[in-house]
Symmetry: C5
């Protein structure tokens, strides 16, 4: 929960990597394509990278790892990125947003992958969209864009026929698709919790449910700002986004809205599960207490009776009576049956 930012106190625009995972080496790759063909290259230096640019078609530069300040600065300089943009790219705790600059659009989003043990894991993806180029910055080399790469390679769908704005959209769309996978996993977990809610009365059920709740809330903090950002994107009047892209943005917005509503549904479900569980725990406890108390209550008057005839008074006529003992047993059995009947009539048994 703690918010750690090593850059606090530094002048705004200072370049320090802010992230909570161990950083990996920076690696650079470039994909060029146009309706006719496509190629992928990896580069060791920014200079090499830039030499691969596709002047005629669309260029997609992907930067994995955010540790090599030199390369990042050079890249930023080449594409005239504002210092604050670079700072935002490095601050991997940034909330999703869309920002318009003179020559480019800057988009921050979160890629979510599902980790069987830890739940959802977040990786910040920064996207810079210029006229013919898309630059993406990832914290770690990963496969979240592999499907896009393959679609470019095999010329699937319309991706090679459209501009850089469609590429940026496709990247966002593939991230949002991944959100549904994570939501699916969370949904299955919640179903398990729902099924156990009546029977599970241990002390840790609620704690685990609360952990899932925190995960749902964390997901919400990522999805809601992205929803706003896509809405902003739709309203932007910029040449960088072509008219043709609007139905796709609308569709993307619909998808993210649906995931946001699923999240709200999960929250309400969690509240339901908690209420059922709390009420079950207390109901079960009540049942235990009731049966136990009833047993006690039946025996307490009987114990009194046997206590009476355990007294050592000299003159107790009952003790001398030959039928005293069997009569006492009969009385006690009658008392016990009477109390059971009384409990039954009151529906306590």
């Amino acid at each position: 929960m703690a918010v750690e930012r090593p850059d606090l106190g530094l002048p705004p625009g200072s370049l320090v990597y802010v992230g909570d995972r161990k950083p990996t080496e920076t690696s650079l790759s470039v994909i060029g394509y146009d309706p006719i063909g496509s190629w992928i290259k990896t580069a060791d230096t920014v200079e090499e990278l830039l030499s691969y640019r596709n002047e005629a078609g669309i260029t997609w530069i992907n930067v994995n790892g955010l540790n090599d300040m030199d390369s990042l600065s050079k890249l930023a300089k080449t594409y005239c990125l504002h210092n604050l943009t670079l700072e935002d790219i490095l601050n991997t705790e940034h909330r999703p947003k869309v920002e318009e600059f003179e020559d480019y659009l800057f988009i921050i989003a979160k890629a979510i992958t599902w980790n069987e043990e830890k739940g959802p894991e977040y990786e910040q993806i920064s996207i810079v969209l210029t006229k013919n180029t898309v630059i993406t910055f990832q914290e770690h080399p990963g496969d979240c864009f592999d499907t896009i790469r393959k679609r470019i390679e095999v010329n699937a769908g319309r991706i090679r026929k459209m501009g850089s704005d469609y590429l940026a959209y496709a990247l966002l769309d593939s991230m949002v698709d991944d959100y549904f996978k994570t939501l699916d996993q969370l949904g299955q977990r919640l179903e398990d919790f729902e099924n156990q809610a009546v029977d599970e009365t241990g002390r840790h059920f609620l704690k685990q449910l609360q952990q899932v709740k925190q995960q749902v809330l964390a997901l919400r903090r990522v999805i809601w700002p992205l929803r706003e950002s896509i809405a902003t994107l739709q309203r932007l009047e910029t040449e960088l986004i072509s008219e043709e892209l609007h139905p796709f943005l609308k569709d993307l917005y619909d998808n993210i809205l649906q995931s946001a509503e699923t999240i709200e549904g999960y929250r309400e479900l969690i509240v339901s599960i908690m209420e059922v569980n709390l009420s079950s725990v207390s109901n079960k406890m009540n049942e235990v207490m009731k049966v136990l108390t009833i047993i006690s209550t039946i025996f307490i008057p009987l114990t009194f009776v046997v206590g009476v005839y355990g007294m050592n008074f000299k003159f107790m006529p009952e003790l001398e009576h030959p039928l005293g003992y069997p009569i006492t047993w009969s009385v006690m059995i009658l008392i016990a049956l009477g109390m059971v009947a009384f409990f039954k009539r009151r529906h306590w048994l």
Copy 2:
């Protein structure tokens, strides 16, 4: 609760059927009408279907089942439907919406039918409204539009005198009418719960109530977006919706608003029922515990007394006294009466 979308990872606009019920065969039917007459035809192929179109009057094409990609694609091509529209039609988990395209309006809504065992069941209805044609897509062959068909056939009301926009409105209106039937069923269930809330203290009452609550929330997630969509429809400046239709749209909006408010009323009622039930369970438990504890408490001092005279001390003057036994009984009865009186004065009995 789980969200499953087999199309995740595919390029946007890929055509895959997304639904959670077993799909049925695709069947096609076409209804043509004008103020003078009407006819219904079923077709085996899209080509046959298209040959039945009513060039002069209004044509209503109904597609049941969403599995025959070929036919759907042909139909989409004929009516210039955007790829995203077709994708939305196939994704039967889509939330209700209204979208304006160049030549047509695209409306997604949910038909709700009441299943005695499972509660409300949802079917996605997609409506494409063009100048003279309405195309509806249903997941399953069903009877939710039978009343409309009959009204066209018997020329009831104004339906045959008006345009395709009125037909689309009539379809939505008949769906919203069905919502009230479902609301009615839910309302009766809630009334049952309300009547049992004070007496029913079992462990499953709350779980069942929570299930109804989830159904109410699911209904809400369908009705609220439709409300927004109808409001959007009212504001749209399009030639596809004639001036004449506006009072009807206003009326439709009123109806859906009323159903939305009924839903909110149900939510508040559910909270009330839960509060009454929880308080009843705990009150009943308290009553049980109180009576039982009182019985214990009366006998505990008496048991002590009889224990005293069960002691085997050599020198206990009371034991020798001829009236020891009856006096002890009198004392014990007095103690018991005293405690009962004490409990009574404190209103614990």
Copy 3:
């Protein structure tokens, strides 16, 4: 709670009476007035009714009971009422609204009367406001407009000097005045509940409170839409509402806003009462349990002591000792006092 609408499935604009009270016979009356004079007439047929119209001044037609479809249709035809308007008049479950048509304004509001046993009772009042005529539709013959009739008769205030819009306003104003009477009754009930909240621990207190809460919520569902409707009325740019009327509408809006705020205050009060009551019930229970448990706890060690000397061991020196019995008593009294002191010091007694 159930929503029953016999008109479901019928074409929009079908005329069926929708209400949950037994309908009464339709009766017609007409009041004509101008600054100089006024008259009241009752009519058997619509034709007779229309012959009484006040061509020069203002005409107020009142229709009691909504069963005579023929008369209603004729009336609607005469005043060019839209079919949907007539349908709304007949659907007495409609929420309050204001709707503008070409030649008239259509207002739905609810008259509320207080029934000592059942709480608030609702009657739908539909008002059609045209240039010189106001038509009101009531479900039952009632006296909710008697004060207005009297003011017209005795020429009280400005009512005879102003137009039909002022008459419509005066009708709404008298209904809102009645709301305050109902709010007053509910307020008194809540005061009773508030006073009993600490002492009343029975199982039915909360259920009765929940019933009042449901009544408050039902009232809210009537008052809030009316508030919106009056706001709409203020914003309407129509010739039917004169400039002069605006301060009166503003005043009406203030009144209804005040009643809406009173409702919100009631809701908060109900929550307070529930919290106090629940906490009182549990506190009282706790007190009972505490005292009872303390009694048990004091006697349990004593019973152990007397048990010890009830043992039949051959060699128990204490039993032979002449002071054994009184010493045992002293020890037991000391133990009892010690426990009482311990409880006192811990503030459990």
Copy 4:
């Protein structure tokens, strides 16, 4: 809580005093001032009052008590007040508002004084602001404007140099200042409650807290509409409010916003106190029950043991053994120690 309005059923604009305190006699006073001098006069009749008006400078007419309908009507006539304005002045249950009329602004606000026993007490202050005159209506003669009178008398600050709008502002400002005094008192009460929340487990703590909560909510219902009214005042485009006044209105708005936020803070604090208290009550109860139950549980097995050797079987070898009695004691002490150790290890002691 009850809403009583004796004017219900009367025509709108009827003049009846609506208030819940015993009305006092109406008294009239007039203050005239300009940058050079000032004077205060009291008047018996409206005519006398009007003769004192300061034609050149600013006139402030103050009316104490709202029973003399004649005088009020005359005054209203002189200053062309709308009938509804007069009605609002008399209805002392009116919510704060600002209303613009042709020649004057009409402001309703509430003066709040702190009563040690009953908490906040409300008095409605109506302010009519015309070009050179301010008329204030109070329910009771009081001192809430004394500081303003003194500032006019001694020519403190800028009050005598500015127009009637500044006077109206100064009156509102002095009322809002009083709000902070009341908030201060409520804050101190809440601090007391906060300090007692852990220790105070009586049945009346929560009831008293709920009473303070109701007071806080009542205060809120007065402050929030005033906040809106001041915002309205800032936006009004009227000649009655000079450009110069705007920073002062902004400042007034800031003050009232701060008091509104303090109220919200109080509400959150009350929720916190309740949660702490409820949890403390239940924790304390649990502690009591635990200790008591532990005592019982230790003695129950021991009582069983002594019961065993109180049996009268002929053949019980232990009874004959010379060490039987001390061995039994040792066993019992071991059992007791064992249970204590068990409880300790489970952290129940």
Copy 5:
């Protein structure tokens, strides 16, 4: 919680210091800089201070301590500050805001420092931004601006190259950076609470958590208005803020938005912790009660049995039987085992 304002009742614009800490002596310092150089001077009098102004470049005047009314008034006069501005500077309880005056912008913000014992401590910082000058008012001499001073001294970043608006921004930015440090501390505390929530069942856990909650809420009341203020600043159309500053303001806004969202996350976390803790307390209590009650319940029937054979009837055949004693033991062991088995089967053990 109490709101104390010694200026209540005084005319608006009266100059009284309103703060809750012991005021310190007023000290004045001035920093002048331009792209070429910078100097820092401290001054004893306002006259001396003003003589140090940097006519060509940017001047930053810092005032520590708000007790020397004379100096403050002189300063205010020199820079034409409105009386209300001066009053707001002195009222250190003011909520954050931005206000535009003719010649200057006035900004109120709160510097937050973390005190290990008391939690967050607030100091009001008032900033007056004019064309070439920034004046800051602090309650106490402190180091919250030391980093800015150093950046000016060593010419770090762009601070010396930009105008007075950038200086004001840099000051706000350094304050917001400090917010994250405080949030970090609070986050760590909440993590501790989260870890203890299941095990910690003492009476003071919840009270301490509530204190942290109050701190979080207080922080919220400071951060939310600042967020609004920065948004206002972004929208202001004033020459005092250059075009160049806008990306920086956007970045500042992002940062404060992130801190606001962190706060909301903390609130939800606190609710989770409370729910887990309350449920744990009650679960633990239930476990205790259950085990204890089970022990009692096993021994109660056994105690009854031994009581039976402690009776002194003359004719009890079992007592004479040579195997009576061992058979009784066997029966009792069977009863005990039977009850344990019964409890086990019901999952109560």
